[in-house]
Symmetry: C2
């Protein structure tokens, strides 16, 4: 039974479910350092993750600045009223609203008389100066709620000189003291460029980033995890656990579950640690071992055969969304196809295939017909093959089926195989944040407010000691430049970026060939989460060690539990 | 963090999640009538749902027997030890394990020294006498857990004379006093036939049914709902709610969500009542209004266009799995295709299509190419078109896209449309049962034990007053024959069933043309749930009234809430 029309603005017409309502009333705890008076202690000068000389050239005003930690203090930092803007950038992640609530509450409590603006629809809102003024009535209904719908997000970047100028105009018009950019690796890189630009222009507007992405690929020592990863993985794991129980109950299906996350396989790895599937493919391992699709198919098929001998004609297999991006031979085939299809025509008889290199031709013929067709027919507006549209789980089912049929005719396999495909993606991006994500985001936002008040810019809000109770968490900011490396451009001066860097950062052409990036944190094959997985997977493959995590609970034992990846990386769990 | 190896048998190698463990310890309440001494009070003689004369002929030993209600009593029913078998039949539904726990606990508490057998793999286990003896250690780990893996299920039916004889042999060999059949409409019909057969053979073995199916299509006045429906709908609604928040946040996708449930659209209707989608298609309405696929496509497209005018280029649409089974023209096309493909060959030029009737040809050409191909290429082992494999959600996306393009060229639509398809099915069959399903199933099982102890056969365990607290629920049994009607056979004497009915029920050939069935309870267009939906859908279509039910909670406010369909049908909710 829904509480008819709770709050009055923003989600004006919304009807809340009982759980949504109870989450609205869930009291958010803060790290104790944020509960009382605090001051900021700077660490030593910072460097960069790679190529510090180049980073120093790209960020002359910011490079080298120290990271900072909040510590208890006897006196309060001067509580001047601030004007602060906030923007959500990129894909949704559970907890985004709580970052905003954290900033808002900080300003209410530590900088009375402050004004807060929410830029609408992502960075485009900053450029076009489209915003909503955030007040208590407007913000309240979003506390602990999923989604980004309070101000919505967008995928634009502030890149061209004109766009930087637009952002500057907005900052000036609204007299912004601060701008908080909530986003992933790209968005935080962009935040740092804006911070550098504003500093270079002597604007008073400071810029602070916040680490957001369900993919879990924005992290480092000081930023142990990105928000949303915990909730998304728990939602997917609930579903995987249910499917596992179903597999074991009906005894006749192999469930191939593709999980969101194109670049890194953290989600798949975390879900595997939570649920113990028979197989989980990790893209980074496939790439490191230079595996082919045939290798992957054989690996799955071997396990299916072994299980059949034990009487198990069922199983659960997890697949990262970006799997085929990790397979070198697929990349090669796609490149050849893009090249070929741009100039040539596919003939029915298949003679065209002789124009592919031998290896690529072999791979193409190994692919199931439906995938072959997809590769040839579906192109993006630039005429390129749409790799992202390939339903990898269905492709693998078809390839395993073919291989099993072959083995059956050879008398090497006597089981039955029925594949069921799943894709878990959108279900996980906007769920109600777990207690962990709710608290983590609130602390990130509250801490971002504190950093702005202390006059900091070019930092990413950093909350640490996350395996401890919330009260013991640390808070502070990490220099965004310290997370950076450069990427060398493949194309000579085709990028808009370099015109900005020239214009905005007053750099010479000679530095134009480098682009600053916060490198995505990939699954480390020597890291604790992967090693834990690798030590157990052979047992999981054959014996059924399924775990059903069940639906996320907000109260009761375990409601505050943190995901495995984080605990393993923190060395708290063996 | 999982409790390493809890229980010792059955789920021997299982590791339980925190939530699974906490559910294991969740204390199950019973209706107060089952907590103390009780006796059974018979109601008036019963009839049948339809064609009572035919049902009387098919069930000479059982027809007319009264339903029975458990009432508090001063003296205990004599607690003789019993031998009881239990079998799970058909698809999984959350709560099945609790029915078994209920029977088990009843025997432990009211019939000391009893023996309980679990037949393995469904009715085949009964026929082949494959069973496991259930004891405390074995049963314990399954309390409040999802799945059917304690003894597994199967889709066989006991139909031929030989099979009835096998069941008889098993009953004799194990000296069964009772057999509890947990299943859907078909399985309960089968249970009644077995009860009749055993009674006719003067066996002491009584047979009691239990109403199971996530589809919600086994229900009547005395059996207000089938177990599993509550949990499954809440799991799907959690996911739908998340997708809705995502749709509203990103503002650029139309999510087409197909929901499990081939025969009836109860799941779609319930999920709609829980989440308020922009569109929910109800198969029964499509059939009643004799709608065509073009009508359905236009209905969706009209709403997409109206929403685009309001600036909403996103939405959520729910589709019952069995939608196209409800569209008369599709049935006609399929029949023609089956006929045609059995004898003829499809030519590339498409001349073959002239052999279809005009209306069917038009429909075929209206279908998206991928669906056309699927209809022509994918056949089941009998050579028939595999309607069940059609991904209706993708088909509708393609058809709406085409129609929108047409309107765009006519200047009638200026929006953007990107469809995302989902199928929520297996995720919902084996989740941890909600508090409602956990208690309901436990009471169904406990009550089934009581019915057996009182010497009853041919009843379905019935628990009522479900809107009240568990302690006030009623318990008893409803005559299975009273739920029955007959179906006239289309094919003359081709069915195995009639040889049983002849053999087992000693009926004449003249009755052989009827088959007893418990008719599936379809969505009633005059029923309270549909009327509620129909009164609100126009508002939901245009305004965004999305509700996010969130993950199922096991403790806290709302954890005991019952689904909308049931509350509306009970007249408790307006």
């Amino acid at each position: 039974m829904a509480a008819e029309n709770g709050p009055s603005l923003g989600r004006l017409a919304s009807v809340y479910s009982e759980v949504q309502t109870s989450r609205l009333h869930h009291a958010l705890r803060l790290p104790s350092v944020l509960c009382s008076q605090f001051s900021l202690v700077d660490g030593p000068p910072s460097s960069a993750t790679g190529n510090p000389d180049e980073i120093a050239k790209l960020f002359p005003n910011l490079f080298g600045q120290p990271s900072a930690t909040l510590v208890p203090a006897k006196e309060a930092v001067e509580g001047k009223a601030l004007k602060v803007g906030v923007v959500l950038s990129g894909g949704q992640a559970p907890g985004g609203h709580n970052v905003i609530c954290g900033i808002f509450d900080f300003l209410q409590e530590h900088a009375k008389g402050s004004t807060m603006y929410g830029f609408k629809g992502g960075p485009a809102g900053v450029m076009k100066c489209k915003y909503v003024e955030l007040n208590t009535d407007f913000v309240y209904p979003y506390r602990n709620q999923g989604g980004f719908d309070m101000i919505c997000s967008g995928r634009d970047k502030i890149e061209t000189p004109e766009q930087f100028k637009q952002a500057e105009d907005t900052a000036n018009k609204l007299e912004l003291d601060g701008l908080v950019v909530i986003g992933g690796d790209d968005s935080n890189t962009n935040a740092c460029l804006i911070a550098e630009y504003f500093r270079g222009k002597n604007l008073k507007t400071r810029v602070i980033g916040c680490p957001k992405t369900i993919d879990g690929d924005l992290k480092c020592h000081e930023v142990p995890t990105s928000f949303g990863f915990d909730t998304a993985c728990k939602i997917y794991s609930e579903m995987i656990g249910n499917v596992m129980t179903d597999a074991r109950s009906s005894g006749k299906y192999y469930h191939f579950v593709r999980l969101m996350g194109r670049a890194a396989s953290h989600i798949t790895l975390e879900c595997a640690l939570q649920t113990h599937p028979n197989i989980a493919l990790i893209g980074e391992e496939v790439a490191a071992k230079k595996q082919t699709l045939k290798n992957v198919t054989d690996y799955i098929t071997d396990i299916v055969c072994k299980r059949a001998e034990l009487g198990y004609n069922y199983g659960v297999i997890l697949i990262p969304e970006g799997l085929i991006d990790f397979v070198p031979e697929v990349q090669k085939l796609i490149a050849e196809l893009n090249e070929f299809l741009a100039h040539d025509i596919v003939d029915e008889a298949g003679v065209w295939k002789n124009k592919l290199e031998q290896e690529s031709k072999k791979l193409f013929e190994f692919l199931p017909p439906s995938i072959q067709e997809q590769l040839l027919l579906e192109r993006d507006p630039h005429g390129n093959v749409q790799v992202a549209k390939i339903e990898t789980e269905k492709m693998l089912i078809a390839m395993v089926e073919t291989e099993l049929e072959r083995r059956k005719t050879e008398g090497k396999y006597k089981g039955n195989f029925i594949g069921q495909s799943h894709f878990f993606g959108y279900e996980g991006r906007c769920g109600l944040p777990t207690n962990f994500d709710a608290s983590y985001c609130y602390a990130l936002g509250y801490g971002a407010g504190a950093l702005l008040q202390c006059g900091k810019t070019g930092l990413i809000s950093s909350v640490g000691n996350l395996a401890a109770p919330v009260s013991e968490w640390t808070a502070g900011g990490t220099a965004l430049t310290s997370l950076m490396d450069v990427e060398r451009r493949h194309v000579i001066f085709s990028s808009i970026f370099f015109s900005i860097s020239d214009f905005a950062l007053h750099k010479r052409n000679s530095t134009g060939k480098f682009k600053p990036v916060i490198k995505k944190a990939m699954v480390e094959l020597e890291g604790a989460p992967f090693k834990k997985f690798a030590s157990l997977r052979d047992e999981w493959a054959i014996k059924n060690r399924y775990i059903s995590p069940g639906p996320i609970q907000f109260i009761g034992s375990g409601a505050d539990a943190v995901n495995r990846t984080l605990l393993l990386e923190l060395g708290v769990q063996a």
